[in-house]
Symmetry: C2
Subunit: 142 residues, 2 copies
DNA sequence: GAATCAATTTAGAATAATTCTTGCTATTGG
DNA sequence: CCAATAGCAAGAATTATTCTAAATTGATTC
């Protein structure tokens, strides 16, 4: 994933990437901490981590940055039940397994060749734009 | 699904059903409303519908009733993104498709014989207690 | 049937994640 | 440089949900 500093774009005359995202210091740092520790942090987790590099950043800005990163599909928003949203920079098609013993959220990939229409009895004419699969359970090492 | 009035249990000496649920008027009415119109209403939707039969019921009680019905697995709580929770009395294994054109949430069943482990590359030793699959898209009748 | 006693209900207050508002600053393109 | 647009920060507002505390219910025991 290309992250261009605001003022040195490969796209002359614009600091925006192809999708129109202006990569400001705040957005860059938010994205950087998401890549650095891929443990599905909450917005507040991100806020605390980003403050190391940008001590004056506000929580509202972290929310703004996360929102724009999600809109531009650099980051996925992950919602378990009604808990605070978590953020995931893994762009591969995958779903999430919440180990309730450790609290860890694991990325889970689909087995190769699996099509959604193969396993679900979708309504006729359904065009799926977004799929969210969340699992809860435990990792028993028995 | 059996719904027993509080005072006439088949279990002598107790008004509770096998799982320990005391079916009060409020819980009965909340459950009845969910069965009567299976459109995945929010807690507030349920509140408004239940007031027809129990004009003095409070929203807190509706939340309490829904919580206990979910705990006792008579009702499923359905969460799309960070929208208000919705409630579903369909106990068959199924998932949800949100048609963003109409706003309708459809129940979607799995094709027969599909096992989760067949399609997902689960971590070794993972014991899944709960699965939540949410789809967003449109029903184009083309 | 009255006393007991825990479970339930209710109204309203509190909570907390998120969003909004507003004024300021930075960046862009000309 | 200038004007216009976009982004940021601080704090207020929103809102679904949960909590608190007091009243009520109703099942069980006397
Ligand atoms: Mn956290
Ligand atoms: Mn509704
Ligand atoms: Zn992930
Ligand atoms: Zn359903």
């Amino acid at each position: 994933m290309q992250v261009k500093p605001t003022s040195k774009s490969a796209n002359p005359g614009s600091s925006e990437d192809a999708s129109g995202l202006r990569m400001t210091r705040q957005r860059q740092e938010v994205y950087r901490v998401l890549l650095a520790q891929r443990d599905h942090p909450t917005a507040n987790d991100v806020f605390m981590r980003v403050k190391d590099g940008l001590p004056h950043i506000s929580l509202a800005t972290v929310y703004n940055c996360l929102e724009v990163l999600v809109e531009h599909r650099l980051v996925r928003q992950v919602n378990f039940e009604r808990e605070p949203s978590r953020y995931c920079p893994n762009l591969e098609e995958h779903c999430h397994f919440h180990d309730q013993h450790t609290g860890v959220i694991h990325d889970v990939k689909f087995k190769p060749g699996v099509r959604l229409g193969d396993v679900l009895d979708l309504p006729n004419g359904a065009v799926i734009e977004d799929v969210e699969i969340n699992l809860r359970g435990q990792l028993s090492l028995a």
